[in-house]
Symmetry: C2
Subunit: 333 residues, 2 copies
């Protein structure tokens, strides 16, 4: 496990609380044999004691405090030298460089290790080449947690609509901007709504990632590649953020029974993120921090999936789904 | 294929229009080797000409007109004597007796044939014993089209939330009653809304199946068994229809920001269908003929899936999903 922030810690807690039924229901007993954060590492081939690992992080702010052994290993050293079947890439998302996640993922795959990434950066910037590298090395690359948090948007499109053809999709892929726009609909102006979302902990100190549409665009890229088979990256997305949305626009939309939402759209002609008027009766028109995506399929019509798009435990549950899928696929081979 | 009404005919059309890509994408080339309706049968071990089959049904109202051969075979004779891998049970739903579907399904499974049923009756009345019989005979019983039409509600719960535990769910499972309640919200009284839904072709001449909640209860039973592992049938559902809902109730709910919906609920304590006040902001609160279900999972939170709950082509696409899944499972063995 590379990176041990909110999601990584939630995953450790999830394994602790679920170990009995993971074994009885799915026949798996996952061991975390190494964990690296930005200050140190903990390695134990027989499996780390997750309770102690969480304790070390909590009290000393690094997993390096787990034991008195060597802790100077950097992530790439650990990825290359520790025997493991899967590398969990949980380091922070950087949508400009994709690093350090991209280096971690490439190292892991070159070493014949499967990868589960909850880091959007590498996928948004280099999805087509990462998938190619995975195929070349005969490993699986999974990333359920990058879109929709715990809401299985990617699986829904890929598995549940099997046998049908998705012609297009559109959705609200960023909870923070949706919260801000929902507050503006309730009467707040943009500045107050943004301040409120910071206070609630939804928007970062530097909120550009959310409000300028980068986060939504990254998820759109991942979906366009995985669901539609496109070979696109961030630079192919036409992107407009919400900072230009005024209270007057929101009011005018409301008069027509509509709301302004930051909508990501993908069809044969468009790949864009932009504030868009949506009918309030449209199932996609959800409020607060919810995410929603509507898929238009050729034969089974339109289907919408709605859920929270973030959250540590929710995203950890997506990692677990990926892990079970990797295990099931290995087993079938 | 037993039964050749709207869904059966849509499935034949779907096969005609998709034959090339079904082979290229999924490696399957389904042949319909026999088709029986209430007036006759058509049998062709090399595969029926589906265009001609549709033509026979259209011009002579029975598939018995397909050719001049014998056509006196009844469904059970065809199921038992024609060599086939899968039996599609598409005869009309009867929620009192479950017949003739139950007899067809049992005959098919006893003969070692997999079954895809879009008929809710047999499943609503005898789900636990039918699944047991399928296991005993080593065949698969699939029924995606019974809940949600083309909206993959069952697959979503079963596949996408793998590794998590669904603690409860609730939803709008009947489009006709939702249409009526939506119209009442717009100001119509109950009688006019019901008349309108009949005129639009949503409600049957005898609308009891919908308005008394039988259809929603049948779907609830199927979901409770398949998703939650309960062993229940229709008689375990506490059921209240919408005929007691008055315009005054709808108005009063609207004043509190709510709407009255026919909600099916399943949790550890409840298995019921009843008119219920739902917040308009709740994603489940959809209008018109839409269906919506919210699943509450232990770790990944609440997720809602929304789509049309009926339609010939939509339901046919669900049959195709089942067929591909059966084929994939056979292939893996």
């Amino acid at each position: 496990m590379v990176g041990f922030g909110v999601v990584g810690q939630s995953f450790a807690k999830l394994l602790l609380s679920r170990s009995a039924d993971l074994y009885s229901e799915h026949g798996i007993k996952p061991r975390i044999v190494a964990c690296v954060d930005n200050k140190g590492s903990a390695v134990a081939p027989a499996g780390l004691d997750l309770q102690r690992l969480l304790e070390a992080k909590k009290t000393k702010s690094t997993v390096g405090a787990y034991d008195k052994g060597k802790k100077e290993f950097d992530p790439v050293q650990v990825i290359e030298n520790v025997e493991a079947e899967v590398v969990l890439e949980c380091s922070p998302t950087d949508l400009s460089t994709g690093e350090p996640g991209t280096t971690h993922i490439i190292s892991a795959m070159r070493n014949g290790k499967h990868v589960i990434s909850v880091n959007k950066g590498p996928l948004a910037l280099a999805f087509p080449s990462l998938i190619e590298l995975a195929n070349y090395n005969g490993v699986m690359l999974r990333f359920s947690g990058t879109v929709g948090g715990g809401t299985p948007i990617l699986e829904f499109a890929k598995r549940c609509l099997k046998g049908d053809r998705i012609a297009s999709f559109r959705g609200i892929l960023n909870g923070t901007t949706n919260y801000i726009l929902s507050k503006m609909e309730e009467g707040m102006d943009y500045e107050s709504a943004l301040a409120d979302s910071k206070q609630k902990g939804y928007a970062e100190a530097n909120p550009s990632l959310d409000i300028d549409g980068f986060d939504a665009a990254a998820k759109l890229v991942i979906m366009a590649n995985w669901v539609m088979g496109m070979k696109v990256t961030m630079k192919d997305v036409k992107r407009t953020g919400i900072s230009g949305v005024r209270s007057a626009n929101v009011k005018k939309a409301a008069e027509g029974g509509n709301a302004i939402k930051l909508i990501a759209t993908c069809d044969s002609k468009r790949l864009d993120v932009a504030p868009t008027e949506v009918a309030k009766k449209d199932p996609i028109c959800v409020n607060g921090t919810l995410n929603a995506v509507t898929f238009s399929s050729e034969h089974s019509g339109q289907q919408t999936i709605i859920g929270r798009g973030a959250g540590g435990m929710e995203t950890a549950s997506a990692i677990l789904r990926d892990l079970i899928e990797i295990r099931d696929t290995i087993f079938e081979r």
